[in-house]
Amino acid sequence: MALAFERRLTRHWGDPEVVGLDGYLARGGYEGLRRAVSMTPEEIVEAVKASGLRGRGGAGFPTGMKWGFVPRDTGKPTYVVVNFDESEPGTCNNRELVEREPHRLLEGTAIAALAIGCTTAFIYVRGEYLWQALVLERAIREAYGGGFLGPRIAGSDRTVDIVVHRGAGAYICGEETALLNSLEGLRGQPRLRPPFPAVEGLYACPTVVNNVETLMNVPDIIVRGPEWFRELGTDKSPGTKMVTISGKVERPGNYEVPLGTPFRTVLEELAGGVLGGRALKAWTPGGSSTPLLTAEHVDIPLDYESLAAAGSMLGTAAIMVMDETDCIVDAAARMVRFYAVESCGKCTPCREGGWWATRVLDRLEAGFGRADDLPVVRDLGRNILFRAFCALADGTASVITSSLRHFADEYEEHVRLGRCPLGVPHLEEVAS
């Protein structure tokens, strides 16, 4: 299938002028905000609901519905918080979206602020995205100068300020309640829900937390309408999705595709196929926390429903590709180590289970595995899943369970041979 469609989020990529305000304005930028200031908050929410836009950060929750949950009669301020803590392994499309067109994010954020009656919005940027935070701060200065932020935005009587807040190296802060704690100057540990952020979020005030890509879709929805938005994608997953493809492919990168585009199209047409023409072995559809799939799944459409039906998830649409020379046990050990390192320590199954699983997987990969390690690992996967406060632990379980589901033979071979059959080099010294 040849991929031909009108690009949306990436239509100005490669055009360096669009990074600045003048360039953005010359290409129709801030038209959505200009229209939004003359709409009621309800009209904005209705337009986003009608578009069917779903959160692009992983969960796929309908954006308009999320905005609609914010109560308007509490007498407290409301907040929009942009989740730019992009940290799921394999995911980097938000980074490039902001680098290339920062004003689109500011415009989407300001429209969201209008929709929920917010006057101060925050953008939470992961600390490692230092350059991207500087790009945003520069764009914010320009937007204030141009009258698109601050008091009386776009000629209206509305005020919207945007504050950039940097994280400091904690994956867990991508979880929205951990992010809110971090923004309040606390350790980034998740909060009990309910209350949900829509009711009690930042500073215990009604709060909407949205992903970067989600908000960058909003200006076009206001300008071109919900029906236009639905022209691409599927009925239940409308619009386009940014996909990051990395690992063993010829052209790793961020690509925009209509939701429902088969993985094969992304792999072969956009990424140029598996590196060196080797055979595809395994891939993550949505970052390391989404269950691994194999070469058998190459024709699966990339949308929320199709991936769920295949036993995985769209997640952040971060595809990491492994070829026939890559060891699954080695890859699983590395992915599980990530969740162990990044566990916030709040829940025992995650805090202890992640390290236990890491030690067993490292031992298997190093050739010191025992036959009874496999049931141990399988059992750990089962006992971690859904047993912790937030979804971080489920990432550990997902790696373990899916790698065992598709590649049990390879695990067994490590035990039988007393070494990695693929001879993958690794650093970790394993205590025997």
């Binding site: 490692e128 400091a168 100057g185 990395s246 961020n254 492994m322």
Partner: protein, 198 residues
């Protein structure tokens, strides 16, 4: 307080606090930790106490936050901090050899938290840096270097040792970890762009 935030730094600290809504001063804790780190190269005991005094919270509350996040360093750190991502996308592209090259070339031990004998380098094994499209990803003083090979890693270390500031793949370079921390505290504006405007 004067040691952790000497001279004009205390004014900068107050400007950071003013970014957040009135009554929500504690939100400034994270940027204040970066500010302290930009002055001393790490977050010292004195800095923890100074920040606690500024925000009118306890030193324990400040330390609880400082010790939670990996980008805050509670012990003296090398002039340059080299971060090498070894998460899956980078590992598949040879990151383990890049990390080994960084440790070897700088003379930092394999603990990952140590400082090289000459005090010039700290090498840190990173989790995903969000540059999976240009793996293996490396950061030198929080500026990105793309598709780094072990040879390139050794060359970067040599250039830093010679006092050069290697040009990153995107954005500005920072001459030291302390300079990067000023930008992390939100105190260094980015240069204007060609398509700029107001």
């Amino acid at each position: 307080m004067t040691e952790a935030f000497p001279g004009g730094a205390i004014e900068e600290a107050r400007a950071i606090i003013a970014r957040y809504p009135a009554g929500r001063e504690r939100s400034a804790l994270m940027p204040l930790l970066y500010l302290a780190q930009s002055i001393e190269g790490y977050v010292s005991r004195e800095a923890l106490r100074a920040i606690a005094a500024l925000l009118q919270i306890t030193t324990a509350e400040v330390e609880a936050v400082a010790s939670f996040y990996t980008m805050y360093r509670l012990h003296p750190t090398g002039t340059h901090v080299i971060g090498v991502c070894t998460n899956l996308a980078c590992k598949l592209r040879g990151a383990v050899a890049v990390l080994e090259a960084a440790r070897e070339a700088t003379g930092v031990g394999s603990s990952g938290h140590g400082v090289s004998p000459d005090g010039a380098f700290t090498v840190h094994e990173e989790e995903c840096l969000g540059v999976c499209d240009h793996a293996p990803a490396v950061q030198i003083n929080v500026a990105n270097h793309d598709e780094v090979t072990p040879e390139r890693m050794r060359e970067l270390v040599e250039r830093l040792r010679a006092g050069e500031v290697p040009t990153p793949a995107r954005g500005p370079a920072f001459a030291s970890f302390r300079e990067a921390c000023r930008a992390l505290a939100g105190l260094e504006p980015a240069p204007p762009t060609p398509g700029g405007g107001a």
